[in-house]
């Protein structure tokens, strides 16, 4: 028989109490493991997603560019616009370092028939696939003209929409026929020619324009699921103004030159700021940071609670076993032996609790993931929690540290028990 076996036997004596203690450790370590795993996985997926995007530099009006970028990602509408001259100037400035330009215009569009307010992204219809190379279509095809649009999977699910169905958006009355020419984003494409032929007046006197759904996106796990993607001219018609775009995406020939291009743009133009995909990454990461701080405070809290649970449980067994401990001292156990026996109990509890916590968190990852998707503003697609042995090891270590801290006082108390005081009573 060894020290460990003796400690295990003691733990087995107070099953209920120790089971409760174990559960609290399990929760603490499970939460820690999930938070760290998620954090790690999230950063990785985010980076992957960002690198895959076809746009290397995004130019937005000043204000806070990061805020604007965040808004873009989160599906908000950026208030300011880049005007026509600025855009032309930027294009001139960047010159042949650019491989392509992607003007984007965001709007919120009302569909009175579905009674929905949709977030509508206007972008060059023939090059949507370039901007979002990670997109896969669940059905249909990318838009082929100004009358066709594609929708995110949630939009489709919510209203049971299928390819070939139509969506009607209220547009501003009196839109000039050349509204789409505000930004000659893709002059080679005829799609940007504004076309009001499909516009009709409804009973309320609004202009309604009907679009056919040409494609439905496969679930991305991002905000794209909740958005509608239309040719740029359509957003313009919805907004009813001819001027400006929300952002100008630039695809560079050499993505490595992004920093240089950004510097040039920011030097040459007042009122604009340019960000790289990396900057976007940082912005989103910043949002995640607050969530991270919150979850880590939660981990600390749970750890303190479970730690005091361990302390309490072990201290109780020490008091209950005062006599036994005294007997062991009289049989030759040193103070250190008793300290070790008691500390072992704390460590065994936190070890088992730690392993169980990691196991449970790993098995429950999908549940946690969908839960997190519910409250984080932006979550990269795919699985974000991946089992990482290093994180598992770290979490176990964390658990054992709780054990050491919680076991210290009871072990010290136990080792102070003299044979006499135990045996005399």
């Amino acid at each position: 028989m060894g020290f460990l076996k003796l400690s295990l036997k003691n733990i087995a004596r107070n099953r209920t109490r120790n089971l409760i203690t174990l559960t609290s450790i399990l929760i603490a370590v499970g939460v820690l493991f999930s938070v760290v795993s998620y954090d790690r996985g999230f950063s990785r997926s985010l980076e992957r997603e960002m690198r895959r995007t076809g746009v290397h530099v995004t130019v937005v009006p000043t204000g806070c560019p990061h805020e604007a970028a965040t808004l873009l990602l989160h599906g908000g509408v950026v208030p300011d616009r880049l005007d026509r001259e600025t855009v032309a100037g930027i294009k001139d400035h960047v010159g042949d370092r650019a491989e392509g330009y992607y003007p984007m215009l965001l709007a919120q569009a009302h569909d009175p028939r579905r009674e929905r307010l949709d977030l509508v992204y206007g972008m060059p219809g023939d090059r949507m696939a370039d901007i979002k190379p990670q997109w896969r279509l669940a059905a249909g095809a990318f838009p082929e003209d100004d009358e066709t649009i594609i929708i995110g999977s949630n939009v489709a699910d919510r209203d049971d929409l299928a390819v070939g169905d139509s969506i009607a958006y209220r547009t501003m009355a009196g839109v000039p026929a050349d509204a789409g020419h505000g930004i000659p984003a893709a002059p080679e494409s005829g799609m940007l020619e504004e076309n009001l032929e499909g516009t009709s007046r409804n009973n309320n006197g609004d202009f309604l324009r009907t679009f056919e759904i040409s494609g439905i996106l496969r679930t991305t796990g991002t905000q794209d699921d909740d958005a509608v993607f239309v040719p740029l001219s359509v957003t313009r018609a919805i907004l009813g103004d001819a001027e400006g775009i929300t952002a100008l995406g630039i695809r560079l020939e050499h993505p490595g030159a992004a920093t240089r291009v950004i510097r040039d743009i920011e030097r040459g133009f007042a009122g604009v700021q340019a960000v790289t995909a990396d900057d976007l990454l940082e912005t989103v990461a910043g949002v995640v940071q607050s969530a991270r701080v919150l979850s880590f405070s939660m981990v600390i809290l749970v750890a303190v609670v479970s730690g005091s649970g361990v302390l309490n449980s072990i201290l109780m067994t020490v008091f209950e076993r005062t006599r036994e401990i005294g007997t062991m001292r009289s049989l030759g156990a040193s103070r250190l032996d008793i300290f070790r026996l008691t500390m072992n109990e704390a460590l065994v509890l936190t070890f088992i609790g730690g392993i169980a916590g990691i196991l449970l968190a790993t098995l429950g990852a999908p549940v946690i993931e969908s839960f997190v998707r519910g409250f984080l503003p932006y979550v990269p697609e795919g699985r974000n929690i991946v089992f990482d042995p290093l994180i598992a090891l770290g979490s176990l270590l964390f658990s054992m540290v709780i054990g050491v801290l919680a076991g210290l006082y009871p072990a010290w108390r136990a080792s102070g028990i003299t044979p006499i005081e135990a045996i005399r009573n």
Binding site: F3, K9, S330, L331, R335, T418, I420, I423
Partner: protein
């Protein structure tokens, strides 16, 4: 025969509240190797106190105790632990077996603290000697009082001590079991062990080679050696 334990002017004062209780008042005693001695005396005369001090469980307030030439009052706590582990076996009136361990594990427990491996066959030999072989894997609460005390004796012997100290080992046992325990204890001197037993039972006390009479923290009538 040579002296194994020697006390000189041994004093023990307990402080209870503001009051000092003189449990031992200048005890002069010698115990020789391989003897079986009993200590008798009225309740409160200091028998347990003396046994605890000789067993390195407590320290005297004055005077000295030597075991095998080692002065117990001059050594450190960890040296006391070592003496308890290697030289002394203790048997208590209430047995003090660990309820969560089997009888065999209880007997082997002291080896855990002395970091020794069980000698092959010695556990079985001991269990046979005390007559509890059939109880090896039982829990203490499945044993009779006599069996528990015999297990406790085996536990006290597992480290092959030079001295076995027993404080009223038959206090919780019936007559038959009491006699059995005393026969067992008295047989140990053949194994080279010095046995010192505190008892209230005068008849049992007479089984010893020597009886020490205690009264008011002093030896009553005996000169202190034999």
């Amino acid at each position: 025969m040579s002296v194994l334990i020697q006390t000189r002017n041994l004093e023990k004062v307990y402080h209870r509240g503001g009051e000092a209780v003189h449990a031992l008042r200048g005890v002069e005693l010698e115990f020789h190797k391989e003897t079986f001695a009993t200590i008798v005396g009225p309740s409160g005369s200091g028998k347990t106190t003396l046994l605890h001090i000789m067993g390195c469980l407590d320290r005297p307030s004055g005077g000295t105790v030597e075991i095998d030439g080692i002065s117990l009052s001059e050594i450190s706590g960890s040296e006391q632990d070592r003496i308890r582990r290697n030289m002394i076996g203790f048997v208590f009136q209430e047995f003090h077996l660990i309820p969560s361990l089997s009888v065999a594990d209880n007997i082997l427990l002291p080896l855990l603290f002395s970091r020794k491996k069980p000698e092959p066959g010695y556990l079985d030999h001991l269990m046979e000697t005390v007559g509890i072989v059939h109880r090896k894997d039982h829990r203490p609460n499945q044993l009779s009082g006599g069996e528990m005390q015999r297990a406790a004796v085996a536990r006290a012997l597992i480290n092959r001590p030079q001295v076995l100290l027993a404080d009223e080992p038959s206090g919780n046992l019936d007559t038959d079991n009491s006699i059995r325990i005393f026969e067992l204890l008295s047989s140990l001197k053949q194994e080279g062990i010095t046995v010192i037993v505190v008892t209230h039972n005068m008849e049992l006390a007479r089984m010893a080679d020597r009886q020490v009479h205690f009264r008011d923290g002093r030896l009553a009538d005996e000169p202190g050696r034999c």
